[in-house]
Amino acid sequence: MNWAVITPLIVFLIIIFAVGLWSNKSVLTTNSFLEEYFLGERQMGGFILAMTMVATYGSASSFIGGPGVAYNQGLGWVLLAMAQLATGYFVLMVLGKKFAIIARQYKAITLIDFLKERYHSKAVVIISAGSIIIFLFSSMTAQWIGGARLVESLTGMPYTTALLIFAFSVLVFVIVGGFRAVALTDTIQGVVMFMGTLILLIATIKAGGGVSKIISDLAAENPNLISPFGAGRTLTPSYVSSFWILVGVGVVGLPQITVRAMSYKNSKAMHNAIIIGTIVVGFIMLGMHLIGVFARPVLPGVKVGDTVMPLLSMKVLPPVVAGIVLAAPMAAIMSTVDALLILVSSALVKDIYLNYIKPNAGDQQVKKVSFSVTAITGILVILLALSPPDLIIWLNLFSFGGLESVFIWPVIFGLYWNKGNKNGAITSMILGMGSYILLDRFYPNAFGLHTVVIPIVLSFAGFIVASLVMPQKEAVKELKV
C-alpha cells in the first residue's frame, strides 16, 4: 500500500464524516422533519447551492470515464464535453424563480410533490416514483461499483473491502444528516474537485513540456487528435451537437438536479449560484477532459481509458499531492451517490409511504421510517454492488437519458403552460420512457444523433397533443391561496 497517497484520502473521509454528524444536530432539533431531512429546510445559500448542483452532476464519468475517452479521441471529445457548460446557468435560469415560488406554494419537498399538486393524478405520481426508484437505484449501484473500483486500484485492497469502506462512509453521513449533510459534503467535494482539476492540469502541462509542445506531439502522432472530429473522424457535428440535449439542456429533467432548484433560501442565493455554478462546472469539464487529451504524450500507450486519470496523477505529482487530487474522483462519486440515495429515500418515504400507505403517520414514526428506509436502500445497493446483476448494468445505461425523457416536459410545461394537464403528462412520460428504451435497444443513435433526442421530441409532441385533445374541466390551480 502506498501510504503517502492513501493518507490524504483518509483525512478527506474523516472530514466528510464530521460534517455528516454535525448536520445531524439540525435534523434532531428541527420542527419540520421532512423538509429538513429531504430538503435542508430550503436554507441553501448561493455557494452551497452551486456546489451541490455541480457535485451531484459531476460523477464518475467526469473524472474517470470522460478523460479516458478524451485520451483516445483527442480535442473533439473536449469539445463535446463543453456542452455541459450550459448546465451551469440553464437549469437555474429556466426552472428559476417560478419553480421556487410554486414549490413553496405547494409545500412541495420532492419533485414528485410538485407534479402531484400540479397534475392531481395518481398515475403521474406512481410513474414518477417508479422511474426514480428503478433508474436511480441502478445508477447508484453503478456509481458505487465505480467508487469501489477506484479505492481498489488506489489502495490495492480487495474489491469487497473497498466497497464496504466506501459504502459505509457514504451511508453514515447520509442516514444521520439527510439533505443538509449531502449538500454540505457536496460543497467540500466540489471544492476538492475544482482544486484537483486545477493542480492536475498544471502538472500535466508542465510534464508535457508546455501546451504547444503537447499539441505538436499529438499532431505528429495523429493529426485528427487535434481536429474536432475525433481520432478516427467518427465524431460528426450532428452527433456531438446532440449532446447539448443529453448533458446540456436536458439536465432540467433530472430529478436529482431539479430538487436542488427548490432548496435555496432566496433569489440572491440563486443569482450567486448561477454565476458560481457556471464557472465551476465549465472549469471542471474543460479541465478534466483537456487533462485526458494532454495525458497522451505524457503517458503514452494506456490501454484501459478508465485508468488514465489515476495513472497520470501518480506519474506527474508527488505522492501526497496525488492523494489529494485523487480525492476528487472519489468526491465526485460520493457526491453523486449521496444525492441519489436521499432522493430514492424521499420517493419511498414521502411519495409512496406518506401518500398511499400511512398518510397520517406521526412525527416520530416518519423520522424512524426515513432513517430506516435510507439505511435499507443503502444496504440493498451494497448487496447488489457486491455481485451486480446484468439487469442493473442494463438499467443504468438508460438512467440519464431515460429520466430526462420522462421528466423534462411534465416539469417544463407544468411550470409554463397552463393548458398542460395530467393526460399530457402521463402520455409524455410513458412515450418518453418507452421510446427511449426501445430506440436504445433496436435503433441507437438514429439519424446520427444521440439516442436521447428522438424520445424527447416524441414526449414533447405527446404532451401537447394529449393535453389539447383531452382537456380537463377543472381550471389549473396555479395559485391556491
Binding site: 413553496r104 472530429f229 447539448w244 433569489s267 448561477i274
Partner: protein, 94 residues
C-alpha cells in the same frame, strides 16, 4: 390579505422573462461553440492556426467561449435579474 394577485403576477412576469433569457443564452452559447469549432476546425489540420499553443478552433470555441459565457452570465445576473420574495406575505424569510 392585501392585493393578493397583483404582486404574484408580477413575480411570475419576472420569472418568465428570466427563463427566456436562459433560453436565449443557451442558443447563443451553442452557435458560438458550433460556429468556431466547425467553422475553423473543418480545415485540413496542416492549415490550422494556433492561439496560445492550441488550435484556433479549440481556443475560440471552448476556451474563449467559456470565458465569454461566464462574463455574459455575470452581466445578465447582475443587471437583468431581479430579486423577488419567494414566500407569501407573513412568510419567514426577510
Amino acid at each position: 390579505m392585501k392585493k393578493q394577485n397583483h404582486p404574484l403576477d408580477k413575480r411570475f412576469e419576472i420569472a418568465h422573462r428570466e427563463a427566456l433569457i436562459g433560453v436565449i443564452l443557451v442558443i447563443f452559447n451553442f452557435i458560438w461553440w458550433y460556429g468556431f469549432a466547425y467553422g475553423l476546425g473543418s480545415k485540413k489540420v496542416e492549415d490550422y492556426t494556433y492561439v496560445l499553443g492550441l488550435p484556433a478552433w479549440f481556443f475560440y470555441s471552448c476556451i474563449a467561449g467559456f470565458v465569454l459565457m461566464v462574463i455574459i452570465v455575470i452581466f445578465t445576473v447582475k443587471y437583468l435579474f431581479k430579486d423577488v420574495p419567494f414566500e407569501e406575505e407573513g412568510g419567514g424569510s426577510k
